[in-house]
């Protein structure tokens, strides 16, 4: 029976402020909801999705599975052997895209990778081959992988291999090249390719030896610590990078590999604040993959961009991508670059926001807010706003400035549609012309249209209801 008449009345009012005012005038305790209509075109699909009696339990299960995952770095190995990637096959960030529709940075990265693999003598020749359909392209996500920015993975590149010890599930990510003129931002000059060669020839094998000697590295534990050290795991990975180096350096030294190589590797990792991003991302993917394929669950399990389209995947709708044209980030630019030089949003790194890091953990990394002229207060407000669209608070990622409250995690499509609040993503910006490299960093959101599209698909996935069956059973 309802406790309505037994509890002290506290009113939560949505709609007419007049009614809230009238209750307040009678000395009632009133919270006014700042309500606004849902995203255009979603009101009619929200009803069947919200009334699906499976939804609550499905989302609870999705959250439980996501939060139960522990990501351990268990190996470092070449993509060809690990993923079965053949010469001429390339993985890329975001939802599927053809060469014809590929953005400048993705084209640049594919051209550089083709030269790196020895498939073409020059970037121009590679472009010509790609234009003739000589290469096979697939999203990283289709092979349990993620890649930052262009996210291009070719067979000779080495990958981090992460595993959840409880389930044996694995995810993969390339090694981070640093900032500036790098392949993932679409650059393909000789120094870019030389660095890739060193990473495959020296860095990868050295890290593999170190990880095998050290044993699994608990990436989830590092993530939990870095959130309390000013990192948000997407655009700022400084403490995470140094903690990884702290863990692996003794094993690197003991590996028997030449000290000069170890010194260069240690300097490279320590000098690249983003090195840990490529562990943060697959750790987030590992957590979200565990929440996939739960019928009726409305939780987002991937957000990814290829520079042309922004796509999301949702637990209850399998591998279906919901896409719309990617937006261009707002932020600060390197050197003489300006807004006109930036490519639309690109990269699988929004997997961090999907899992409760990145923009969602902005309150833990107020320095990131400065990219758009924001204050520390803005950073707090951003994280607070994300609680409106998420299903859970992450028990491991705790924000000191919010009294150690867990970060908002598990984006609910219905909450995004109802509130119109879009996920906040921190990101790098690539030059739109192939070969340019990084031009800046900033903030971006998904295009709003992907959420109503996902909602419509969820509504279609409902079991058919008999026309005379007005009521549903919630038992």
């Amino acid at each position: 029976m309802s406790e309505l008449l037994r509890r002290e009345p506290h009113i939560i009012s949505s709609g007419l402020s007049l009614l809230a005012e009238a209750a307040r005038e009678q000395a009632a305790s009133v919270t006014q909801v700042d309500w606004a209509p849902p995203m255009a075109g979603t009101e009619d699909v929200l009803v069947p999705v919200l009334s699906d009696p499976r939804r609550l339990a499905a989302n609870a299960l999705a959250v439980e599975r996501m939060l139960a995952v522990r990501a351990h770095l268990v190996d470092v190995a070449p993509a060809g052997a690990t993923l079965g990637l053949q010469p001429g096959e390339f993985l890329h960030a975001g939802p599927p895209v053809s060469w014809d529709r590929a953005a400048g940075p993705l084209r640049g990265a594919l051209m550089g990778a083709a030269v790196f693999e020895g498939l073409a003598g020059s970037p121009e020749a590679a472009a010509e081959l790609a234009g003739r359909g000589a290469f096979a392209l697939a999203p990283c996500h289709s092979l349990s992988a993620v890649g930052p920015m262009a996210g291009v993975i070719s067979p000779s590149m080495w990958l981090f291999v992460l595993e959840d010890p409880a389930t044996g599930q694995r995810t993969y990510c390339s090694l981070n090249e640093g900032l500036g003129k790098v392949l993932r931002y679409g650059a393909f000059s000789a120094d870019v390719l030389e660095r890739l060669g060193w990473m495959s020839g020296v860095l990868g094998p050295l890290l593999a030896a170190a990880v095998r000697r050290h044993g699994p590295v608990d990436v989830t534990a590092i993530l939990a610590q870095m959130v309390q050290m000013g990192d948000e795991g997407h655009n700022r990975n400084r403490s995470g990078t140094l903690m990884l180096l702290r863990d692996l350096l003794p094993s690197m030294v003991e590996s028997g590999i030449a000290s000069g190589d170890i010194a260069r590797a240690a300097a490279f990792i320590g000098g690249n604040d983003h090195f840990f991003l490529n562990l943060s991302m697959p750790a987030c993917k590992l957590a979200l993959d565990a929440a996939r394929d739960i019928p009726a669950a409305t939780m987002v399990v991937a957000m990814a961009r290829n520079g042309t389209d922004f796509g999301i995947q949702v637990s209850g709708t399998g591998d279906e991508w919901f896409t719309a044209p990617a937006l261009t980030p707002q932020g600060l630019f390197l050197g003489g670059y300006g807004p006109g030089d930036a490519s639309p949003d690109i990269g699988d790194s929004a997997i961090t926001e999907t899992a409760g890091l990145g923009g969602f953990a902005m309150a833990a990394a107020p320095a990131i807010g400065a990219l758009v002229g924001g204050t520390a207060a803005d950073a707090l407000a951003t994280t607070r706003r994300m609680y409106e669209i998420t299903l859970a608070e992450h028990p491991l990622y705790r924000v000191p400035a919010l009294e150690f409250r867990g970060t908002p995690a598990g984006i609910d499509v219905t909450l995004v549609a109802r509130t119109g609040i879009l996920p906040q993503i921190n990101t790098g910006m690539a030059g739109k012309v192939a070969g340019t490299g990084q031009v800046g960093a900033g903030l971006v959101t998904p295009p709003a249209a992907v959420f109503p599209a996902a909602l419509r698909s969820l509504a279609r996935s409902l079991p058919p209801r008999r026309p005379d069956e007005a009521a549903v059973s919630y038992s």
């Binding site: 029976m1 309802s2 406790e3 309505l4 008449l5 037994r6 509890r7 002290e8 009345p9 506290h10 009113i11 939560i12 009012s13 949505s14 709609g15 007419l16 402020s17 007049l18 009614l19 809230a20 009238a22 209750a23 005038e25 009678q26 000395a27 009632a28 305790s29 919270t31 006014q32 909801v33 700042d34 309500w35 606004a36 209509p37 849902p38 995203m39 255009a40 009101e43 929200l46 009803v47 919200l50 009334s51 609550l56 207060a377 407000a381 607070r384 706003r385 609680y387 409106e388 219905t414 909450l415 109802r418 509130t419 119109g420 609040i421 007005a470 009521a471 549903v472 919630y474 038992s475």
Partner: protein
């Protein structure tokens, strides 16, 4: 040469009541000839050409329309500035101190921040389901003030609430009193032994105000929504409300008020009530049933209190109308039902947009366009069809004022019967608008005007001040709607 501005602004939203205030403020600005600040619903877009504005391209219900025509560019600019100021003034008041916290955007978020309780939902009806489901999932009881909620959604919400041990009051629940707080259109009454279950907002208000006149207090008034006793809903919330009041130690007597119910649902509820420890009196509007005043008198007597003579305020200039028809212009659907039951017994069939039987219905648009030639007729201006896209007639009296003038000008009309409902949430001073309109109606048409004034002693509008203003305008005013209806019938009979 006048200057004009028409704009459909995306991503801006304010509720209809707020926007009407903004529109009114802009219309009063110097040099403004016409202004409409409203959400770009189909209805509001339809108003634009009528007001002589062009239609903005691509406007939809998520856009805020700002349409202003003024004497010249200078007046237009200052009118638009008035609009901006009024729109930004609507922002919610900041919480205690300079908190960084932004107001919650959903009921669930509000519960996380401030604890659970009773969710009061008054968003437009097509959006109410999502908020109500959210509130129930967060463990809140729910009062849905919104109307125009589809019946299948009402059933889903009430079944889910039953599964969770919660109550859904509504949809279209206008009135409730919980923990001494009047919600929606309501009144502040002394605490006392009477618990009310109401499938009717204004019906509950009539009973509450009569109890107040008699000096009896209430423990709680739980609205259940106007359709709860229909065959489709089957009394789902009435049972939950009766059970809650039965378990409440402060409730000694329950009065169940409803618009005309489905007979089988009424019978089931009588059976259910018979199994409760607390006595239940039924005040179900319909032929052969006691009217609300009579039912309240029974309740007062059952409590051992004296039944008072109900207040009335005779018009200052007695009306002697010519022979003709009765027209009821009601804000309260149940008050309209009650008046129709009483009047049809004495005068014969009454046509209406909420007819007592199907053969007497007025077409949907007819109440707006006019009831000339309808014979005796009564209109419920609070019916869903007439409130779509606009505020309830207890807040916005403009449609009723227009009808009053039109009915008075119709030589076939002899008596106009109105209800005026006071209390929290209602118009702050209805007599200020109705008084002059009643005086004008009496002067032009020679009609008699009879008013049922539903108010409690502590109502913010001032019960006696309102009564005096209506009386001075020439209306005969009654605290009992049934008494007002009978008096109107006597006037018609006397003029034959």
């Amino acid at each position: 040469m006048s200057a004009e501005h028409v704009e459909a602004r995306p991503g801006a939203y304010a509720d209809s009541v707020t926007l009407m205030r903004v529109s009114a403020e802009v219309r009063e600005a110097d040099g403004v000839q016409a202004a409409l600040i409203a959400m770009a619903t189909e209805l509001n877009l339809g108003l634009l050409p009528e007001m002589g504005f062009r239609l903005p391209p691509d406007a939809g219900p998520n856009h805020l329309l700002v349409a202003v025509r003024a004497r010249d560019d200078t007046a237009l600019a200052s009118a638009l500035a008035v609009a901006e100021t009024a729109l930004s003034a609507r922002r919610l008041p900041a919480g205690a101190g300079a908190s960084l916290a932004t107001p919650p955007r959903t009921t669930a978020a509000a519960v996380r921040a401030g604890g659970g309780g009773l969710a009061l939902i008054s968003v437009p009806g097509r959006y109410a389901f999502a908020e109500a489901m959210d509130a129930l999932e967060a463990g809140c009881d729910v009062m849905i003030f919104s109307d125009n909620v589809p019946v299948e959604q009402e059933i889903m919400l009430k079944d889910f609430a039953a599964h969770r041990g919660l109550i859904v009051m509504g949809p279209d629940c206008g009135t409730a009193i919980v923990g001494g707080v009047g919600l929606g259109f309501s009144h502040t009454l002394a605490a006392g032994p009477v618990g009310i279950v109401a499938a009717s907002g204004t019906g509950a208000q009539q009973v509450l105000c009569l109890l107040d006149h008699a000096g009896a207090g209430v423990s709680a008034a739980l609205g259940v929504g106007g359709r709860d006793l229909s065959a489709a809903i089957g009394g789902r919330s009435s049972r939950a409300a009766l059970a809650a009041l039965d378990a409440d130690p402060g409730t000694e007597l329950i009065v169940l008020v409803s618009k005309p119910p489905a007979a089988e649902v009424a019978a089931e509820l009588r059976d259910f009530a018979a199994g409760l420890a607390t006595p239940v009196l039924f005040a179900l509007i319909g032929p052969g049933e006691p009217d609300l005043t009579a039912a309240t008198e029974t309740a007062i007597a059952a409590l051992g209190l004296p039944v008072p003579a109900w207040p009335q305020w005779p018009g200052e200039v007695p009306a002697a109308p010519h022979a003709g028809f009765l027209r009821g212009l009601f804000a309260g659907g149940t008050l309209c039902d009650e008046a129709m039951v009483i009047a049809s017994d004495r005068l014969g069939p009454i046509r209406s947009n909420i007819p007592l039987r199907p053969g007497l219905s007025l077409a949907a648009r007819e109440p707006v366009l006019g009831t000339t030639g309808a014979g005796h007729a009564m209109i419920d201006f609070g019916d869903d069809e007439l409130t779509m896209g606009r505020a309830h007639p207890m807040i916005d009296q403009s449609l009723r004022l227009e009808r009053l003038a039109a009915e008075a000008a119709d030589p076939a009309v002899s008596v106009v019967l109105l209800d005026v409902v006071l209390g929290h949430g209602a118009h702050p001073d209805p007599a200020a608008e109705l008084g002059p309109a009643i005086a004008a109606a009496r002067a032009t048409g020679g009609v008699a005007v009879v008013v049922s004034l539903i108010g409690a002693a502590s109502d913010p509008q001032g019960l006696h001040r309102q009564a005096a203003a209506l009386q001075a305008a020439g209306a005969d005013v009654f605290a009992s709607n049934a008494a007002a209806a009978r008096f109107a019938c006597e006037k018609i009979e006397g003029a034959r």
